[in-house]
Symmetry: C2
Subunit: 204 residues, 2 copies
């Protein structure tokens, strides 16, 4: 499509490079921005610019942070002996929002996927192994996505753990969602939730 | 939702201020940007920044442009005696993409809508009247949206035209879309397309 201005056309092209945004939506957004005052537009531009320069990653768990250690690793009240292994920063945000977990995290930054050319060295597995070696880790919780890639990654990490160590290795429970009707649950999930059934008292 | 970094949280908030973007989508976009290299992120930021400072509007037709007159008004090969009146820049883009229209435009920047508090003075009607007074306009084509507001705006402009002038006033045709089946067309459109039927030879 041709636009009447190079500035507009560049903005549309750039906005359309975001995931899930097509040309028409990008144009709608650009024209929407044009109706705002300059200061508001610059605010958006600066917030995006800051993503390029002001983002830091926690050197311990690779979560995003503003500086030094992330808030979670820096929090002395959290149980640093329990590490929850996740793929992505979004997973950390989701688990934190439950308000239930008091341990720390390890963000892999992806999962092993030979199809996409992502091997064990492309994600933060080495630093996890190092963390386990150096620290006094008591439990590793796998909270990876329930896919072949996620399962492969969990298994790979499981195999790299020091042999004969007494680290407890667990995986988050999979099963029928709260509020979901049994008849609509997919059969793999349902089968797994039957196999991993728990004492009824635990649900009370 | 709480995010592990102020920079991320500001970016999410700003991106979520765009139309049709919620918090989760904004987060996905921000994290997607973080996976790009800095130069790419800055490119997006600069393209948005330019919307605040480098956008100009054509002083004649109020279309968006880079400088001076817009490409359409500046194009001597176009018929400046035919003015197509539209609400929005997107309408200009849509009509230009047909490749059929050789006249010029007048972008109102909205439509009269008492419900939204938009009166005739809030859109570019005066400058259109002035254009008609000053220039040698032969035809005005109304291409406004087919709503009460669009129709009101067309009618208001029609009434402001100098009385007794020999300017031809037309409206784009409304009717059943090309490729649309008659049985699925809404009855108002169908009624209008029957009332405004055209000689068959014209469709050949």
């Amino acid at each position: 499509m041709e636009y009447p201005s190079h500035v507009l056309s560049r903005a549309v092209e750039q906005i359309a490079s975001l995931p899930g945004i097509g040309q028409k939506t990008a144009l709608r957004m650009a024209l929407h921005l044009l109706r705002r005052n300059s200061e508001d537009i610059l605010e958006l531009a600066r917030a995006i610019e800051a993503l390029a320069s002001d983002i830091h990653y926690c050197p311990v768990c690779h979560n995003i942070c503003d500086e030094g250690l992330c808030d979670i690793c820096a929090d002395k009240s959290r149980d640093s002996e329990t590490i929850c292994v996740v793929e992505d920063i979004r997973d950390v945000i989701a688990i934190e929002n439950t308000g239930l977990y008091r341990g720390v995290y390890h963000v892999l930054g992806g999962r092993i996927s030979p199809m996409e050319g992502i091997g064990p060295n492309d994600i933060e597995i080495d630093s996890l192994t190092q963390r386990i070696k150096n620290g006094s880790v008591k439990e590793i919780i796998f909270a990876l996505s329930s896919t072949i890639e996620g399962d492969t990654t969990s298994y790979y990490i499981y195999r790299t753990l020091p042999k004969g160590s007494d680290i407890k290795v667990t995986s988050i429970a999979r099963g029928v969602s709260i509020g979901e009707e049994i008849q609509y649950a997919d059969h793999i999930t349902l089968a797994r939730s039957i196999r991993n059934r728990i004492p009824y008292e635990n649900t009370l």
